[in-house]
């Protein structure tokens, strides 16, 4: 075989080898939000921007979901 041809063949085989193969598993990344801007819940008419009050109200409301402690131990 012609040495030039042989070198070309080996070169082609190396170029096509998997060592240069890029990973084919898709990696999803959330993009930048493209929709309309939204206001925050404490910026509503009911709270007028008072974040601390909103958070305190939400925490109190969440704690009310348990009935334990509502009645004195029997």
């Amino acid at each position: 075989m012609n040495p030039t041809r042989l070198v070309l063949l080996i070169g082609a085989a190396l170029a096509l080898a998997a060592c240069s193969e890029a990973p084919q598993v898709t990696h999803y990344e959330a993009g930048t939000y493209s929709g309309k801007p939204d206001t925050r819940p404490w910026e509503s008419a009911a709270y007028g921007g008072d974040k601390a009050k909103w958070e305190s109200d939400m925490r109190a409301r969440a704690r009310k979901q348990t009935e334990i402690g509502r009645m004195p131990p029997g």
Partner: protein, 209 residues
């Protein structure tokens, strides 16, 4: 800052569908859309059958956000995953990505093609003026802006479904599990939605090195 989460206590859920009805009524959700539903786990397995109320869990690392080709999803400061219906193209990718089957698509037109995606908003409305007609029409009521928790959880008669700040929910659930001797501590779906903490631990370990 509060991180809003849902937790369904399968030891308490009696499959009454009160949460489903409350949600549909509060937001006037149209026919064919189920923002919340009650499912049976281990159906037919004696002693292991559980009922559970499922909707969008507002995941910490939401897969719907990652796969959306038009990036209509956003996460609010309090951890609620919402979307802009005006920009939604109804492709349905989010439905395939969601581990909870939360995204819903109204069948519109003569050939029943998919409409814009609809899902639970944690009663936080969407990107329209708070309490406006436009917001109610597209997303339903905005109870969070009124200082209220989601209607489904507030209506739950056995308080199986809990909603609110993750820390408060964890405290309530821990207290319950301890009182009933450790049963039903699985919190089905919690790790899928909010992670098991392993990622956080790995980050901490990485930071120590």
């Amino acid at each position: 800052m509060a991180r809003m989460k849902f937790l369904c206590d399968t030891e308490r859920c009696i499959e009454c569908n009160g949460c489903v009805t409350a949600c549909k009524n509060e937001h006037e959700v149209p026919w064919g859309i189920q923002r919340r539903r009650v499912v049976t786990i281990n159906d037919g397995v004696v002693g292991q059958e559980k009922s559970m109320s499922v909707a969008c869990m507002h995941c910490s690392d939401a897969p719907c956000m990652a796969v959306c080709p038009v990036d209509v999803f956003y996460r609010t400061e309090d951890g609620v995953v919402l979307h802009d219906k005006d920009a939604c193209i109804g492709c349905g990718y989010c439905f395939y990505a969601c581990p909870f089957g939360a995204p819903q698509f109204p069948q519109t037109g003569t050939f029943g093609q998919r409409g814009k995606m609809d899902k639970c908003t944690f009663c936080a409305g969407g990107p329209e003026a708070d309490g406006s007609d436009a917001e109610f029409e597209k997303y339903g009521k905005n109870r969070l802006a009124e200082g209220k928790l989601p209607m489904c959880a507030e209506m739950c008669s056995t308080k199986a479904l809990l909603a609110g700040d993750g820390t408060a929910l964890a405290d309530i659930f821990r207290e319950r599990v301890v009182r009933r001797g450790g049963s039903g501590a699985e919190m089905i779906g919690w790790n899928t939605a909010y992670g098991s903490g392993e990622q956080k631990r790995q980050q901490t370990r990485g930071g120590d090195k």
